[in-house]
């Protein structure tokens, strides 16, 4: 199948070249593809314009943090990137999202294939309750009906759980139910589940907001390790977290109207020498 073939290019075997690519930080470097580009994104809920004119570039192999106060449209934005936005019946959209220079909203695009390449981890851990840990990891394979030989499935489970930093904790009880894990473990299981379909981009919508500090730390470690092999976009309320895990940061703000990007740049610059007064006010904790 087409998607699994392209996804296979990023198996751990090619990790070394990926890591090199990341250390050179050259956008568009193979084999990660040329990254994700959002152009002039507008999003509506009914008549209400929630997001206005957002253009952001996510180079392959980078981690970008989206920060901003509640209601600034950053969650709406991240959901437009893998077309989860359209599940709200009144939703409307304008703009383009380019994955490897192809518009994911183009006509004739199979949206399910897009979501295979752009994975998502949600705010609340949501493993499938009727499936075991191992089945949860393979659930994406089953849902998308990718054909993977039985012999490779065990390796895939192990590989994904290792990369999500969960293997050592669950390797003896892969048949246990996903619900038997702690919240932090469940979230890492959800990360492992997203990795199994070999996405190029991983979207994380406040992945740690429901977790305790210890689990948050483990997830952040996982993000750092994953960032060598994929593009990661993370929405977070926690500015320390943004500073710790991301290469780039984009600051969203809404002054009662639609959310907009106020400033985007390397994380160190946003947190030390923001150009915009509003960004400085936010990162220094004066509001939000």
């Amino acid at each position: 199948m087409e998607t699994s073939d392209t996804a296979k290019k990023t198996t751990p075997n090619s990790l070394a070249s990926v890591a090199t690519a990341r250390s050179q930080k050259k956008p568009g470097t193979a084999p990660l593809g040329s990254g994700l580009e959002a152009r002039k994104i507008h999003a509506w809920f009914g008549k209400h314009l929630a997001l206005k004119d957002v253009s952001l570039d996510f180079s392959s192999g980078t981690v970008t943090a989206l920060i901003g106060p509640s209601g600034c449209g950053k969650s709406t934005f991240i959901r437009t990137l893998n077309r989860m936005h359209e599940f709200i019946p009144s939703a409307a959209f304008a703009g383009e999202v380019l994955l490897d220079n192809e518009d994911i909203y183009g006509s004739g695009v199979d949206v399910t294939k897009i979501r295979l390449q752009i994975g998502m981890v949600f705010q609340k851990p949501n493993p499938f309750p009727s499936m075991s840990i191992g089945e949860n990891v393979l659930s994406g394979i089953k849902l998308a009906q990718l054909n993977i030989p039985k012999s490779e499935q065990n390796d895939l489970v192990e590989d994904c759980l290792i990369r999500a930093g969960l293997w050592s904790e669950v390797k003896d009880r892969l048949d246990a139910h996903g619900g038997s894990l702690s919240g932090g473990q469940q979230q890492r299981l959800c990360i492992a589940r997203s990795l199994a379909v070999k996405p190029k981009v991983l979207l994380m919508d406040e992945p740690c907001s429901a977790l305790d500090p210890g689990s948050t730390l483990r997830i952040e470690e996982t993000i750092s390790q994953l960032s060598s092999s994929m593009t990661i976009i993370i929405v977070t309320h926690n500015m320390q977290q943004a500073a710790r895990v991301s290469d780039y940061t984009a600051f969203f703000l809404s002054d009662g109207g639609p959310g907009e990007v106020i400033e985007v740049g390397p994380t160190s610059q946003i947190f030390t020498k923001p150009r915009d007064q509003r960004t400085e006010n936010y990162v220094s904790g004066r509001f939000g």
Partner: protein, 351 residues
């Protein structure tokens, strides 16, 4: 598009995920093809009639859709197409009988509908007389009595039970909930048999509108209880706490705050309960007696009701009597639909 756009201008909202008319052309063309093919198959094979077209067309269009999707996309997409095609077929099977029932009732019932049937009874006419003679006034009055008495009996019981389940929440409320659920499953014929054995066989009371309404009230209580309960749980707890915090007793809070806030919903519960029992036939066969004359006393003497009138017309089975049955059904259906519509208009809006 992006280049011609003025800076700061907001583009028009679009829904790129909605299929455009052009994208529907293949499946439409496919539907037409299936229709033509079905026609051809029916012509050349022994299959005949509407049914023939139907049993050829449905599998044909489903298979063709599946194959088209299989050709253009993966097995996963094709499966989705197949299942959704089955779903639409199933929904059609839900719609078809409803439409047929409505259409039949209206067309057959209208033929016998005249003003005189609302002013006359069957006391001087026979069911096999032409429809111009006689009427169903006695049955209409009987049904009115039945509804009135059932409401008087079951509404206090139903609403107080709902209050017990939502306001008192006593140790037995889980069990009572269970009992109400079980009562809603009591077959209507059993309610009639019960009133017959417990009242008519046991006490000197003879069959009348009153005994009929006993049986109907048993069937009405669960409906009133469950609908009222749905409304009462929607009343925000803040209101109750506000009442209690002002020093009101629970009785005053319920009577002056909770029930008034739920008033329109409770009225809906009563209306739905009435709609539930207005057409009940089976229990009346045991406990109403049945008569062709007008009986203005609901507490004494056999009485009639629309369902009994319809039933009698059907059982006699001759064209005139069946015509009376259909006209009776139409009157009954209009009554039920009016109640139903009122309940919908005033009912609680579900999110």
């Amino acid at each position: 598009m992006a280049t011609t756009q003025a800076i700061g201008a907001i583009p028009a909202p679009t829904k790129p995920w909605v299929k455009r008319p052009l994208q529907r052309v293949p499946s439409l063309a496919l539907g037409v093809t299936a229709l033509l093919l079905a026609g051809l198959i029916v012509e050349v094979t022994p299959l005949k009639g509407k049914l023939g077209y139907f049993i050829v067309f449905v599998p044909l269009v489903t298979t063709l859709q599946y194959l088209l999707a299989r050709m253009r996309a993966s097995r996963k997409v094709a499966e989705d197409v197949l299942v959704s095609s089955l779903m639409w077929t199933a929904a059609f099977f839900v719609f078809l009988p409803t439409a047929s029932i409505l259409a039949t009732t209206v067309t057959k019932g209208l033929q016998g509908l005249r003003f005189s049937i609302f002013t006359d009874t069957m006391v001087s006419a026979s069911f096999t007389d032409p429809i111009e003679m006689g009427g169903l006034l006695h049955a209409l009055l009987g049904t009115a009595y039945l509804i009135l008495l059932s409401v008087i009996i079951s509404v206090p019981l139903g609403i107080l039970t709902a209050l017990y389940l939502t306001e008192i929440k006593g140790p037995g409320s889980g069990f009572i909930q269970f009992i109400v659920q079980a009562m809603s499953g009591v077959p209507s014929v059993i309610a009639g048999l019960f009133v017959f054995s417990a009242v008519i066989l046991t006490t000197p009371i003879k069959a009348s509108s009153l005994t009929g309404s006993f049986a109907l009230a048993i069937l009405m209580v669960p409906t009133v209880t469950r609908t009222s309960q749905e409304v009462l749980v929607l009343i925000p707890n803040d209101l109750r706490e506000a009442g209690l915090a002002l020093g009101a007793t629970q009785w005053k809070t319920v009577a002056l705050v909770v029930v008034p806030a739920a008033r329109s919903g409770l009225i809906t519960a009563v209306i739905l309960g009435v709609a539930r029992i207005a057409g009940e036939t089976a229990p009346l066969l045991f406990v109403l007696g049945g008569t062709d004359a007008l009986n203005q006393n609901p507490f004494n003497g056999f009485n009639s009701g629309l369902p009994l009138y319809i039933w009698k017309g059907f059982l006699i089975g001759l064209p005139e009597s069946v015509q009376r049955a259909w006209t009776g059904i139409l009157v009954l259906l209009i009554l039920v639909l009016v109640l139903f519509t009122i309940a919908r208009i005033f009912g609680p809006k579900k999110g």
